[in-house]
Structures are given as structure tokens and as C-alpha cells.
């Protein structure tokens, strides 16, 4: 999809985004909403009307009104401000976890697919074992083990993303490494490391991007679920998940304490999913066919070596 003849770099990038937006108006809308949410997260201190941590004991559990647009919680904190600050934790955790997990997984997949042999066999088994756990359960156990806190949550979610990156990139590498140009560079005496870094890895860039964007939504849901279950980022830091958990502490939950944080999660996940779908359809038209092919080829004797790219859109935990 490159307009190679264009000498100027940024105008052609802009034009490509324009073409993308015209072809996928829904994805573009998702992208705009996603960007807005990221902006809100960055500029939270400027936008939030109140301090998200400041308790106001004169205004406990007030319904939404002119003073607090989204109402206040059990100890009188402004829900709108907390939702805005919550975007910070959610977005930061999701981006870091996906970046970390997908990158580690992709590097593993690159080495595993290129080197093959015993390393590949061992790696494949390990990925299968990691994928034997439901996402959320694995993330819960890991985040419990390494202690609650933002880093722990990021690591826990990242580990659940590693096998997806590993399998998809591995299958790409398996086809790429047989191509004549790779063989040619091998014949000129290039080292394995050089071939992997300069000749094979560029081919993995598109699937890597697709993986990263399609997993953002999942990461946000897992982060929220961890917070909701009390093993996420600990209070008082506002996150959408622990706000929902807080709302359960009162006997009769107040609707605004349940509705707004959850709405924020849904809108964010929806926006990122739409962008992810658009990018996937644009960068990787084979994926749909590939998903079908890898699924119609069942695990013979339990060893799944998908023919095409492994399914990218994976069910999330929630």
C-alpha cells in the first residue's frame, strides 16, 4: 500500500491515512474517539473539574447534578474527575502491556520460527502451556504472585499476550525464511542475526502492528476486570475497574457509580476494536482466510502448527 513515487514523506503518510479513513469510515471514527480518549488521559489534570482523590464529606453519594456532572461516590469524590483520571491508568497499562507482551512474543516467534529445531519445539510447548490458562485467571495468578501495583498488572497482562504474538510471528517467519531473497543473502554469507534483523523482521512489521492494535481492547478489559476483582492497581488510584469494585461496597449500589466507569470502558474498548479491525483488514487481507485455514486444520495429536496466521481476534476475558 505504499505510494512509492511520492518523494515527500509526511504528505504521503497523511494521504494514506486519508485513504484509510475513506475506505473504513467506521474505523476512522473509532480512531478519532480513541485519540480523544488518549488526549483526555494525557491532559487529565487540565480537564478534570476536581481533585479525583479529594473527599468531600458534605456531598456523599450525590446523584449527577450541576455541581458534579457524574455524581459523587461513598466518600464524596467527584466521579467525573475519577473517570477522567481512570483513563490514565487504563490507557497506560493497556499500551505498556500490549507493547511489552507483543514485542516479547514477536521476538520469541522470530527466533523460534527462524532457528527451528529444539529451541522451536521447546518454545512451542511453553506457549501451549501458557495458552492452557484462561487469560483472566493467568493474569490474576501472576498479579497476585508478583504483588499488586501498576508494574505487576502490566507484567501480568503482558505475559498473557506473549503466546499470541509468538504464534502469529512464528508462522509468518516460517514462510518468509524460505523465500529466495533470504536464501540469496544467506548464500552471500550473512549471519543468522543479520538475516533475522534486516531481512526477516521487516516482513513481520505488518502482522506486529495488527496484533498490537487488536489486543489493546482485550488488555483494557483485563485491566478493568483485575481492578474489579481487587487484584489490579490498588486504591486510592482511580481506575475504571476499582471504581466499579467500590460501587459494590454499598448495600444498594448507586447507578451513577456503576454506569459511568463501565461506559468509559465500553467506549474505549469499542474505539480500539474498531481501529484494530480496520487496520487488520487493510494490512492483512489474508487474515480472514488464514483464520479459517488454521482452524480447519485441527491439532493433530494435540500439536497445533497453524498453516496460516493464527487467529488474531481473540476472545477477551470478561
Amino acid at each position: 500500500m505504499g505510494s512509492d513515487s511520492d518523494p515527500g514523506h509526511s504528505p504521503s503518510t497523511l494521504r494514506e491515512i486519508g485513504v484509510f479513513a475513506r475506505r473504513n469510515p467506521v474505523s476512522a471514527a473509532g480512531g478519532v474517539v480513541g485519540l480523544l480518549i488518549i488526549l483526555v488521559a494525557i491532559a487529565a489534570p487540565l480537564i478534570a473539574p476536581n481533585d479525583p482523590l479529594k473527599a468531600d464529606f458534605k456531598r456523599l453519594r450525590t446523584p449527577p447534578g450541576s455541581q458534579n456532572y457524574f455524581g459523587t461516590d461513598q466518600i464524596g469524590r467527584d466521579t467525573l474527575s475519577r473517570v477522567i483520571y481512570g483513563a490514565r491508568s487504563s490507557i497506560f497499562v493497556a499500551f505498556s502491556a500490549v507493547l511489552l507482551g507483543t514485542t516479547l512474543g514477536s521476538l520469541w516467534g522470530l527466533a523460534s520460527g527462524y532457528l527451528g529445531g529444539r529451541f522451536d519445539l521447546f518454545g512451542q510447548r511453553l506457549m501451549e502451556i501458557l495458552q492452557s490458562f484462561p487469560d483472566l485467571i493467568l493474569a490474576m495468578a501472576i498479579s497476585m504472585a508478583i504483588g499488586t501495583g501498576m508494574q505487576a498488572v502490566i507484567v501480568a497482562i503482558a505475559i498473557t499476550r506473549i503466546p499470541f504474538g509468538g504464534r502469529v510471528i512464528r508462522s509468518v517467519v516460517l514462510t518468509v525464511k524460505e523465500l529466495p531473497y533470504v536464501e540469496a543473502s544467506r548464500s552471500t554469507g550473512a549471519s543468522h542475526l543479520r538475516i533475522m534483523a534486516l531481512h526477516v523482521s521487516p516482513q513481520c512489521l505488518a502482522p506486529y502492528l495488527v496484533l498490537a492494535t487488536t489486543h489493546l481492547g482485550v488488555a483494557i478489559v483485563i485491566e478493568a476486570a483485575l481492578g474489579f476483582l481487587g487484584v489490579g492497581i490498588p486504591p486510592p488510584t482511580p481506575t475504571w475497574g476499582n471504581m466499579l469494585a467500590d460501587s459494590l461496597t454499598s448495600l444498594v449500589p448507586h447507578w451513577w457509580l456503576v454506569f459511568f466507569p463501565g461506559l468509559a470502558i465500553t467506549v474505549t474498548v469499542l474505539a480500539f476494536n474498531l481501529v484494530g479491525d480496520g487496520i487488520r483488514d487493510t494490512l492483512d487481507p489474508r487474515v480472514y482466510a488464514g483464520v479459517l485455514r488454521s482452524m480447519t486444520a485441527p491439532r493433530r495429536g494435540g500439536r497445533s502448527t497453524p498453516v496460516g496466521p493464527a487467529p488474531l481476534q481473540i476472545p477477551s476475558a470478561s
Partner: protein, 318 residues
């Protein structure tokens, strides 16, 4: 078929071993002392050095790790699974007590997902890009983004506000009191079912569209069969194979998701037990439950592969 089953089982044994080792190791790298979790930070400082050593020995946590691992395997072999730190209950009793509710929710949710997803997918595929198709696709995109636990919380809230109804909080089995039991499980089952249904509808649509283009379907149309009959009798059976696989993959989503959804509905199932154990840092309970979730997920994957071999004769006679 039996050979296939046998081979499949043999190959999953090493994976099972790996899964148990990973669970064990993750549970033993806990940075916090389990005694701190048991007695609280204050209580911990009040314990003398000898008391700490004695309690750790009582719990069996001061032995070398391989010994602890072997003891765990022995506990599994004898069916007791060890005891909870806090209540002294056997974990096997906990599973027998809470498990049936969760299993019921899981099975019911899969049934609901097929009842909802399949017809929607068929309608979508038989008139692609029609109004009905667009509505169905938008709804499925929406349901893929809504976190199940939030939807559950909204349902609980709505039924409380409008009908003053709250579901019972007891463990009631289907065979004791079917009506109360249904009230307990229907909410989580519907929420989880809709989430999976969105994937099933999507997959059914794309697979049907793929199959409908094939020659034998055109032949069926050419000989004048009613369009509905062509889709249901000729196209659907071939399109269903990948849908079944997706349904199996979605079981991971059900297993993980049910933990958060049970929490949202306040259903005292296995997921709720896991959450309690994780929050209390009850290592023995957590390691057994996480292993159980892993094993169930593996068994489901085997069953999906078997159903595949059963449905596709080409595989059976290989």
C-alpha cells in the same frame, strides 16, 4: 477414532505436567510472606521467630520446593487437594460445593450463545449488507466491547430498581430447588452467552459467506431448491466446523469471564471462591483452582478436536 483420542491424551500429558509446574512456581514466587497475609502486618510482627517457623512447618511451606511439589501431586492423587489456610476446609470439598453452579452457568451460556449467535449469523449471511445484516453486525461489535461484568452489574441494578428483585445468595443446586437455582444462574449465563454469541454470529456469517460461494451450493440453487433449504441443509453443515472450534476457544472466555461475572451477580460459584482465595492470598486454594481451570480448558480443547474428527470423516480415516 480411539487411536486419535489416545494419541491426543498422551500428547497432553507433558503439557499437563508443565501447567502444574508453572502454577506451582508462580504461587511460590510470592514476594509477601504468606504469614503476613494470614495474620496481617501487625499480627506478623507479634509472632516470635519460633512461632513463625512452626506455623510454616505446619502448613508444609518450609520444606524444599520439590518436596512440596511432590506432596501436592500426592494430595491431587488422593483427591483431597490440600487444605485452605484460613478455614481448614479441604479444597476438594470447596470445589464439589461451588463447582456445580459454575459448571451450570458455563453450559447454559454456551447453549444461549448458539441459540442467539447461529440464527443471527445465518440471517446476516443470507442477505449480506442488508439492513438486518448491518444491525446484527453493529450489535455484535457492541457486545464484543461491553465487559460482561459491567453488563451483569447493570442487570442487577435494573432488576433491583424496577422490580425490587434480588437474586438469592445461597448455594442452591438444580436438583434441590430448580426454580431458585435458575434465578441464581440465569443472569451470569445470559451475560456470558451474549458475549460468546457475538463471536458465534460473526464467525457463522463469515464462514457461511465463504461456503455459499462454492460450486455445490450453486448446484443446489440451480436445481431450484428454496433459498432457506439451500442455506440450512447444504451450506450450514460445512460452515459449522470453524464455528464449533470458535465455540471451544470461547470456553476460555467463559472460564475466565465467569470469575468476574459471578462476582458482579454475587453468585457463590467457583469463580467467587477463586477471587476470595486470591484476595486472602490463600496459596493452596489458588494453586488448585488455577490448575483446575487449566485442566478444564485443556479437556475442552480435546473435546473440540474430537468433535472435529467426528464431524469431518476425512480426519477420521487418516
Amino acid at each position: 477414532m480411539q487411536k486419535y483420542l489416545l494419541r491426543r491424551l498422551i500428547v497432553s500429558l507433558p503439557a499437563l505436567f508443565g501447567v502444574s509446574v508453572i502454577v506451582f512456581v508462580v504461587m511460590r514466587v510470592l514476594p509477601g510472606d504468606p504469614l503476613v497475609a494470614m495474620f496481617g502486618a501487625e499480627g506478623f510482627t507479634r509472632l516470635g521467630e519460633s512461632d513463625r517457623a512452626r506455623i510454616m512447618a505446619d502448613l508444609g511451606l518450609s520444606d524444599p520446593l520439590p518436596v512440596q511439589y511432590l506432596r501436592w501431586m500426592k494430595d491431587i492423587a488422593t483427591g483431597g487437594l490440600g487444605k485452605s489456610f484460613f478455614r481448614g476446609d479441604k479444597v476438594s470439598e470447596l470445589i464439589l460445593h461451588r463447582g456445580p453452579l459454575s459448571a451450570e452457568i458455563g453450559v447454559l451460556s454456551v447453549i444461549i450463545s448458539w441459540i442467539v449467535g447461529l440464527p443471527v449469523g445465518i440471517v446476516s449471511a443470507s442477505r449480506p449488507n442488508s439492513f438486518a445484516d448491518n444491525v446484527a453486525r453493529s450489535l455484535s461489535v457492541l457486545f464484543l466491547a461491553i465487559p460482561g461484568f459491567w453488563l451483569g452489574m447493570l442487570i442487577v441494578l435494573a432488576s433491583l430498581f424496577w422490580f425490587h428483585y434480588k437474586s438469592p445468595l445461597l448455594v442452591v443446586y438444580l436438583w434441590e430447588d430448580p426454580w431458585t437455582n435458575l434465578q441464581l444462574v440465569i443472569g451470569p449465563a445470559v451475560v456470558l452467552g451474549l458475549g460468546q454469541g457475538a463471536y458465534i454470529a460473526r464467525m457463522t456469517r463469515s464462514c457461511l459467506l465463504e461456503v455459499i460461494r462454492e460450486d455445490y451450493v450453486r448446484t443446489a440453487q440451480a436445481k431450484g431448491l428454496a433459498e432457506g433449504l439451500v442455506v440450512i441443509r447444504h451450506a450450514l453443515p460445512n460452515a459449522l466446523l470453524p464455528v464449533i472450534t470458535v465455540s471451544g476457544i470461547l470456553m476460555g472466555f467463559v472460564l475466565g469471564g465467569s470469575v468476574a461475572v459471578e462476582q458482579a451477580f454475587g453468585v457463590p460459584g467457583l469463580g467467587a471462591a477463586l477471587v476470595t482465595a486470591v484476595v486472602e492470598r490463600d496459596i493452596i486454594v489458588v494453586q488448585n483452582l488455577v490448575l483446575l481451570y487449566g485442566v478444564i480448558f485443556m479437556v475442552i480443547n480435546i473435546l473440540v478436536d474430537l468433535s472435529y474428527a467426528w464431524l469431518d470423516p476425512r480426519l477420521r480415516f487418516q
